[in-house]
Symmetry: none
């Protein structure tokens, strides 16, 4: 397959038909890695009926009990959103991010995450994404069927892949490293009172967004962990 | 609607669900003119269930008993095909034809024709088309679900119509703000001993590089200044 470093991750999917249609779309466009994270339905006969040639994608699909386990091994996690308010205002138009996704996928594993049919990705899941993409629609008609959204993303990836040479790409840190860093940073920022109970969630989200855009490599993570450690040490000793 | 000179014409469609899904896709992308030519099924409850916001498209859909009557009033008829043999070898990649379709639709009615689910457009229908488009797929996986194909075509038309890709243009902070932030951050990181005389220059460069990639906006700068201020306050009080 052409795009075998890119995995489609469907989180909390409710309809077996959508899983099948998504698998067919993936197959059309040359993607074959599918993960179901905390699905709320099973791969069924209807999934297979709709998958057609995408049967091979369903056959090898992995099921994970939550997003955290699904994320394991990925370097770049890209979320999809139809909404644009608040935190989601930080999203990029799909087409503009395709080159970056493909560059990364030339060497490292990239996951593209789709939320449940009714709600889309919830905040907790969006937080884990370094980048957010949005499929342009007409105004007030942004609720795209899940498998249609998967199709458009896969189509853009194939179109990008057909016309491109791999450029220089960063070697991103693992998502486990990233999460450990945020956790350590959050603790440190609480200790020095930068994070207050009423703003901690919002602030950490902002920090995640801006560092997500940067595309952190392992040494970058080391820098922030070093700062957090030093803050913690200082705050700890300051308290004594 | 944005693209009201462009009509989607579904010929010989067999599944009501596909009509509904196509209507939803059209609605997402700002097309509202739908014609069913010689359909082999009726618009049903299932069509409406799948159409969601595309209900308005279904409500105003026209049904014609054959393609000839459906074609009336159009100036340009564009056929879609997944196959590439014989006559169909004359097809263009969808994206390459979008500008031409949009130019035409700026003044005159354009129809885009999709064949039945199982066969695609038959030769008699293809003959009526002045132009043929093909949606690129991976090799030997060119059988795309009808409503998915409608979605990709409508998506490309919307993207073309939007002209420039509505990428998110960040409103970057001023360089003065950025420099003031780095200066404040450097002071704070020295105070807590993260920066040492022998590594300070190198570390600040790394930090500048990674934050530079993020593309900091004014609120982002505010976050880092807030952190630095809080570190400074803490370090200061710790020393006392």
């Amino acid at each position: 397959m052409l795009l075998n470093n890119i995995t489609i991750i469907l989180a909390g999917t409710k309809h077996p038909g959508n899983i099948g249609s998504a698998a067919r779309a993936m197959f059309n466009m040359g993607l074959d890695q599918l993960i179901l994270a905390a699905p709320q339905c099973k791969i069924s006969d209807e999934s297979y009926r709709l998958a057609k040639g995408g049967k091979v994608v369903l056959d090898s699909a992995r099921v994970c009990k939550n997003l955290k386990s699904a994320m394991r091994g990925f370097r770049l996690l890209v979320g999809t959103t139809g909404k644009s308010g608040g935190y989601r205002a930080q999203s990029f138009s799909l087409r503009s991010l395709v080159p970056r996704i493909l560059d990364q996928a030339a060497q490292q594993k990239v996951g593209i995450l789709f939320g449940p049919e009714d709600t889309g990705l919830i905040d907790d899941d969006l937080q884990c994404c370094q980048l957010l993409i949005r499929i342009p629609t007409q105004h007030k008609a942004n609720s795209i069927n899940l498998s249609q959204a998967v199709m458009i993303v896969c189509y853009e990836l194939l179109m990008g892949r057909l016309g491109r040479d791999p450029a220089r790409f960063p070697k991103l840190a693992s998502l486990e490293q990233i999460e450990a860093m945020y956790s350590q940073l959050e603790t440190a920022l609480r200790e020095i009172g930068f994070l207050q109970p009423q703003n901690a969630g919002h602030m950490m989200l902002r920090i995640r967004q801006l560092l997500g855009r940067a595309g952190l490599e392992a040494p970058d993570v080391g820098i922030f962990r070093g700062i957090a450690r030093q803050i913690g040490w200082y705050a700890g000793s300051g308290k004594k």
